[in-house]
Amino acid sequence: MKAAATNYYKADSVDHALSLSASLGGMAKYLAGGQSLLPMMNLRLAMPEALIDISGLAALREVRLLENGLFIGAGVTHAMIEDGRVPEYGAGFLQHVAGGIAYRSIRNQGTVGGSLVHADPSADWSTALLALNATAVIRSDAGIRHVPLGTFQTGLMETSLEESEVLLGVLLPILSVRTRWAYRKFCYKVGELAHSLAAVVIDPEHELALAVVGAAADTPYVLPRVSASLRVGLHADAVALPSFTQLVEADLAEGTSHEPASYEFHLHKTIITRAVSEALTK
């Protein structure tokens, strides 16, 4: 199918993008990689009156190692991370996640920011970066604000980004080289959006221990009991015990609407358990 008529604008700076958006009365969509937006436009699930192309903005492709974390610009593509063109971070976690997204030609265009703002709970970065306790860095004419990623994602395909704002990037906390992590997806076909995904990141040096499940609810879900057990030093051998299984089941029952006897519930339970096991045996 062909996209509906639209008006294309190219922004030459972040300020220009913001002012264009304001002048278009909030009827424009930002276009970064377009790998989520254009399929929707071709299927006419999205028919924006205007597109503001921000893909050429160097300011959105900045990657900076700061004292309090690694800042990754919203316009950084998955391929840039896959190819190791950003600083080594989290013992290979980012690179691993990036390399598993869709297909290479998608990764050459698709961006971290685009994925986060599209907010598909089955997509990779929303779940993976939540397990890092990342922060969304948001820009408007008023300046910059920071929002924890868990608060940024408000619902299915929804974020707390205001009409007058654009996502500048994400700030990932400093991780030690001894960080243990695992990232598991379940797909029938390589490259499709996952039917279940689990991200586990454990870094006692920075008091970080999070297990997140994606594609299970409207947004990725931080598993409270599983994360707590990781924080107090759950041992790899304990993962196979019923006591741990009950934690996973309780978290899924609380955070998702899947019936415990359902296939989906079992799938999520399995993927979460595998991810935890993998992280703990590193």
Binding site: A3, N42, I106
Partner: protein, 162 residues
């Protein structure tokens, strides 16, 4: 309407395009480069693969307006490319195509895979090619063609090094 200036298969080109026009439709309909094919028009089949600034992209989910100032290479632009010549011979020898609809997208993707050295094993080849769908071959001939091309190109590199 937008005016775009780009380099297509080595030649500079200035064109007027509708804002909503995909790069795929622009290349096929306005530039008569019908080597790329439309299979799904939402980015999952890979038949529309072209190179933009040397990287494979899905032209069906790229706007023509958005490639202003860039370099585009379609399968037609590889007539003189020695690597592509090897790939094509191997696809032919290993029955890597039947109807040929997926083939331009396949060979461009394979060329990129070889460049990035992502053809070490059958499993890796299959994973890297998972974004290119073929309805005819069942893929085994394609995988064989990639292995054949990889080995031939490695052999040729060794020859040159000697």
């Amino acid at each position: 309407m937008k005016t775009i200036t780009l380099v297509i298969n080595g030649e500079a080109s200035t064109d007027k395009v509708e804002d909503r026009l995909s790069l795929a439709d622009f290349l096929r309909d306005q530039r008569n480069l019908t080597g790329l094919h439309l299979g799904c028009e939402h980015g999952v089949c890979g038949a529309c693969t072209v190179l933009v600034d040397d990287e494979p992209v899905r032209s069906c989910i790229t706007l023509a307006a958005a490639v202003d100032g860039k370099t585009v290479r379609t399968v037609e632009g590889f007539e003189q490319d020695p690597t592509m010549a090897v790939i094509r011979e191997c696809f032919s020898a290993a029955h890597g195509l039947q109807c040929g609809y997926c083939t331009p997208g396949m060979v461009l993707t394979v060329r990129d895979m070889l460049k990035r050295q992502k053809c070490a094993t059958q499993q890796q080849i299959r994973i890297e090619l998972s974004g290119n769908l073929c309805r005819c071959t069942g893929y085994s001939g394609i995988v064989k063609a990639v292995e054949m091309a990889r080995d031939r190109l490695a052999g040729e590199t060794n020859q040159q090094a000697k």
